[in-house]
């Protein structure tokens, strides 16, 4: 265990060192990403003055939803970046994954250590800033239970989206091409749960409740944190199911990953 951590630390250190070689580019990259997370929310905030609310939710309450998932997704992207189907797909295509398999180090650990993009910190920072703004715009009645549950929700979201990345990466063992449909769940999913779920059509809500339970990750926990009534009439325990959805997804994804590795047959390049 200790040895694995040390290996991981070294792999990450290499990634960091290579990125700070092009200092201006890295800084601009970080500034750019900081703006992108900023502009999406900034655009909503700037037009909000023309509207009263978004289906009964104030700007601050939407900011709460938005910033929580933004921070979690940014953190996930930092840790699970190696599994990003956009970067993992080419590894399978070019056969560079075969190199990793030949090394006497656990391959999962190597993939974890194969990407650590400093520019993800921009997204995380933006998420945290908007979260602070959200807290100042809403008056959350904090209780010890809520304070304890917030990090759990956060980690569950990281686990859930990390699981999606791993599933997308594993799929490329068979498809070789990257599977772009996964983007609907990763990038589309974060966008989806950045807004109160009751604004969506019934079929969409059902899909994201029963098939891919994203509704449990952000919306229900937010109802609990913000003390808002549930217009969808879900069970009273719904706000507390985030860890089950998040870690269930991650466990299933890791199982699929192990299965995929066992059946990986290389492209022969």
């Amino acid at each position: 265990m200790w040895h694995s951590l040390e290996t991981y630390r070294r792999l990450i250190a290499v990634r960091v060192r290579s990125q700070i070689q092009y200092r201006v580019s890295t800084l601009l990259d970080i500034a750019g990403m900081a703006i992108v997370t900023g502009v999406e929310f900034g655009a909503l905030a700037m037009v909000f003055q023309r509207f009263e609310s978004i289906a009964g939710w104030t700007l601050g309450e939407v900011a709460f939803l938005y910033s929580l998932v933004t921070t979690a997704f940014g953190t996930m992207d930092l840790i699970f970046g190696g599994f990003d189907p956009d970067t993992f797909g080419p590894m399978v295509q070019r056969g560079t994954l075969d190199q990793l398999l030949l090394r006497p180090v656990n391959v999962t650990l190597q993939v974890f250590g194969s990407a650590f993009l400093l520019r993800r910190f921009a997204k995380i920072a933006q998420g945290v800033i908007i979260f602070c703004i959200a807290l100042s715009m809403t008056s959350v009645h904090w209780t010890p239970a809520k304070v304890a549950y917030l990090p759990v929700v956060f980690v569950s979201q990281v686990a859930f989206f990390g699981g999606l990345f791993i599933i997308g990466a594993t799929s490329t063992f068979w498809t070789v091409q990257r599977v772009e449909a996964i983007n609907i769940f990763t990038y589309g999913g974060t966008e989806l749960i950045s807004y109160p779920m009751h604004i969506y059509a019934k079929w969409m809500r059902r899909f994201f409740t029963y098939v891919v339970p994203m509704i449990l990750l952000n919306y229900y926990p937010a109802l609990y944190f913000l003390d808002k009534p549930d217009p969808l009439g879900g069970p009273a325990c719904a706000p507390f199911l985030a860890p089950i959805a998040g870690f269930g997804m991650l466990a299933a994804a890791l199982g699929f990953w192990r299965f995929g590795l066992k059946h990986y047959a290389s492209t022969g390049t």
Binding site: Y22, D29, G32, V39, F51, G188, Y195
Partner: protein, 263 residues
């Protein structure tokens, strides 16, 4: 001219061969469109019209913005940058064609394919799911066509210009990403420009970005009519010419500086 036409044709067919990628992109764009439509519908609530846009216009707007993503390469375009780094540019510069024109032809072919496969299709899908606004006359459709062509030319010139930064820095991806992200906000892609406060809209109009997405949207929805519309199209032409000049000047300076590594 013949070469120009052949390049367009080749790159058109090339883009069409990426069938799965086109389908996946289409599905993603449509899904995001549904989300954005839901958000605007929720924002409107009981309001009938906001800043001159009816709810139907606002929903149509989300379709239009999703439809232009592919053919304006809105999320990034790195081809010239790649050819500078790989050295391919050395053989391209020897071609009996201006470097800008060469890439313009290639991009027009790609854009045309994307327009048909990922632009028109999204609007058709939208027409099935939503009640959308449609241009009312032949003249109106022609104006939309003109706005689309001009926005493609502006967008190409802007992307080309951004890519030229590769002459000066060994890793221009950061510059590029920054430039593309900037264009989302200022072009009226994230929210209709009309919804923003006046001071901000004025700021946007100092840049070429509203001439890409926003003009297409406003001409299509019929928000701009008569002289206002002609003015908007004229402004598009002006921005194109400015960017074209900027591209040529930057390219000349860049080529003078270019060192091809190896051989």
């Amino acid at each position: 001219m013949h070469l120009f036409y052949e390049l367009i044709k080749t790159s058109f067919h090339q883009q069409l061969t990426y069938r799965t990628a086109n389908m996946a992109g289409l599905a993603t764009n449509f899904f995001f469109g549904l989300l954005r439509a839901a958000i605007l519908i929720a924002l409107y609530g009981t309001a009938r019209e906001v800043a001159g846009l009816s709810l139907r216009d606002a929903v149509t707007y989300t379709g239009l913005t999703q439809a232009v993503i592919a053919f304006l390469s809105f999320f990034g375009w790195w081809e010239v940058m790649r050819s500078v780094y790989s050295g391919d540019i050395s053989s391209d510069l020897l071609k009996p064609m201006r470097y800008y024109t060469f890439w313009l032809a290639k991009d027009l072919g790609r854009a045309l394919a994307c327009f048909l496969v990922r632009g028109v299709t999204i609007m058709l899908a939208y027409a099935l799911v939503f009640d959308i606004t449609l241009p009312t006359s032949v003249w109106h459709w022609l104006a939309v066509g003109a706005a689309l062509v001009l926005s493609t030319m502006i967008s190409f010139s802007w992307r080309f210009l951004v890519n030229l930064s590769a002459f000066w820095t060994p890793d221009a991806m950061g510059v590029g990403r920054f430039a593309f992200i900037l264009s989302w906000f200022l072009s009226g892609f994230l929210m209709p420009l009309r919804f923003f406060p006046d001071w901000f809209v004025r700021l946007c109009h100092l840049t070429p970005f509203p001439a890409t997405v926003n003009t297409v949207v406003e001409v299509y929805l019929g928000v701009l009519t008569g002289p206002e519309m002609v003015q908007a199209l004229g402004l598009q032409l002006l921005w194109f010419l400015i960017l074209l000049a900027a591209c040529q000047l930057t390219l000349r300076a860049g080529v003078r500086k270019l060192v091809i590594q190896g051989g």
